[in-house]
């Protein structure tokens, strides 16, 4: 069982976004980076599938700048067996199709049984790479899974469908899944894991040219919301609130 987990580093979720000098991307000077939260679910899921199978290999892959080795090391410390860094200084600005194309080429060589992605990277919020990757690899894909088990070359997965329904899929491997919150609780790397990670292979190679498929004409900050207003205190303010919602906002 060979499992690939795709991870991306993204600005920490409490980052204050500033527009960069080019007017089309963010100023990364003060940014603190984290592993995309949904990708932590992907890594955890990969480790659990391997553990349940009793053998196998978990490979974490990123298209990122040289510094992204740090996030890959965290994944190795969590328990991944090896890491592959496809180096691209501009990775965080790549569009989904370009990213998926580069990842697919590298992942194809690994011949995985299972490829796990996050449902969305919380920087560009595209939610596309998993599905694009699946198409390029010629594999089926189920998105936003909240349950996963693997046996006999097949995966049983669940995802939330429309209007509160739950869809249960049976998927022949190899396949790509994208991971949603609720799938698992990612483990923390412990000291033993951190020590072990030092001896694990982390391969780096240049991603090569990454042709853009989506042009970014500009990045701007949203208009600030007008300052908040306190209608009143306690239950006494309820009637005034209802009046405002009906006659001023006209939303009820």
């Amino acid at each position: 069982m060979k499992i690939v987990a795709c991870v991306k580093r993204v600005p920490s979720t409490d980052t204050r976004i500033k527009v960069g000098a080019d007017g089309a991307s963010i100023d990364t000077a003060q940014v603190e980076w984290i592993i995309n939260p949904y990708d932590e679910f992907a890594v955890e899921a990969a480790l659990r599938v391997k553990e349940a199978a009793g053998s196998g290999e978990v490979v974490v892959v990123t298209l990122g700048p040289a510094d992204a080795a740090r996030e890959l090391k965290t994944c190795l410390a969590m328990g991944a067996d090896r890491a592959l860094l496809l180096k691209d200084a501009e990775a965080s600005r790549r569009d989904a199709l370009a990213t998926a194309t580069v990842l697919a080429a590298a992942i194809r060589e690994l011949k995985p049984d299972l490829v796990l992605c996050g449902k969305q990277a919380v920087d560009n919020d595209q939610g596309q790479v998993g599905l694009l990757l699946a198409h390029l690899l010629g594999m089926p894909c189920v998105t936003e899974i909240v349950k996963l088990s693997v046996a006999d070359g097949k995966a049983a997965v669940e995802r939330a469908g429309d209007e509160g329904t739950t869809e249960r899929h049976e998927v022949t491997l190899p396949a790509v899944f994208t991971c949603q919150k609720g799938l698992n609780e990612p483990r923390y790397a412990n000291l033993k894991g951190i020590m072990a990670a030092k001896k694990k292979p982390l391969d780096e190679r240049d991603a090569g040219p990454v042709p853009a498929r989506l042009n970014v004409a500009g990045l701007e900050l949203p208009a600030a919301r007008p300052d908040g207003r306190i209608v009143g205190t306690d239950a006494a303010a309820v009637d005034e609130l209802v009046r405002l919602l009906r006659h001023e906002a006209k939303v009820i």
Partner: protein, 324 residues
Amino acid sequence: MAGEILVLVEQMRGALKSTALQAMTAGAQLAAAHGTTAVAVVAGEGAEQTSAALGEHGAARVIALDADTTDRTAWAAAVAGVARKLSPAAVLLAHTTLGKDLGPRIAALLDAPMASDCVAVRSEGGAIVARRPVFAGKALVHVSGANGLLVVSIRPNALSAQKSPAAGSLEREAATPPSTGLGDVLKEVIASAQKKIELTEAAIIVSGGRGLKGPENFAMIEELAGALGAAVGASRAVVDAGWRPHGEQVGQTGKTVAPQLYIAVAISGAIQHLAGMRTAKYIVAINKDPEAPIFKVADYGIVGDAFEIVPRLTAAVKALKAQG
């Protein structure tokens, strides 16, 4: 005629969701600005019944596609087949539970870039340019395809549906089967106990936070939501505590919502929560702490105890609805 705007419309037994009409409206307006016409494509049982409503909302033509809508690979392949024949300037669809799954599949089949979850789309110098939030709405980008065709999904409730009558002439089209038989089998769709309003598509949302002290107190939130015809949301603190299901989490690592009205009850307004709801048209905050950051973004705030205020609000809403 090449260069049209193709709009993939979701329907259920002949009924169109509000998000579908929003996407159709966006497509019709884009087509007018782009000097072309909008063409709707619909699939599934009842598809043909939607042509009048789609025509009213600007569809010059409505293509009823005979595709298997239980298999998304097949469905995407069928839509991509239509797109190949038409060679449109853009393919639009709503960024719903279904749309976010179908959109990238269609884009991949067409080898076209996609702009997800857009809040606006326009024609500029012959190109289709989409505006979309990034970093959970902390910034916005303007994007266009590097070489022509762009797939665009439209954020629910970001644009309103508007009528602009067009012919809406109905055509029927056989599905192009997928080129590969892929091994994804939908075994079962398990219905939930009660039919839920999809959080990301709801016009009104009532969300509860940790200040509600326990899962049992969400009955109060559900009752207010029921009175308003709203969906129930939650903060991550509440979801992590196991009080509410993951699917209800609003925020950067939950759902991004843009309803007409968002009522935050006993939620402090952490940056990651705001990220998921700051683009709501109106925000109401109920919190006992006047310094809570949620009040900075709330159009209307009430400082006080949720346990007193919420039942009163529910009663007032019920009274209002009874009056009509």
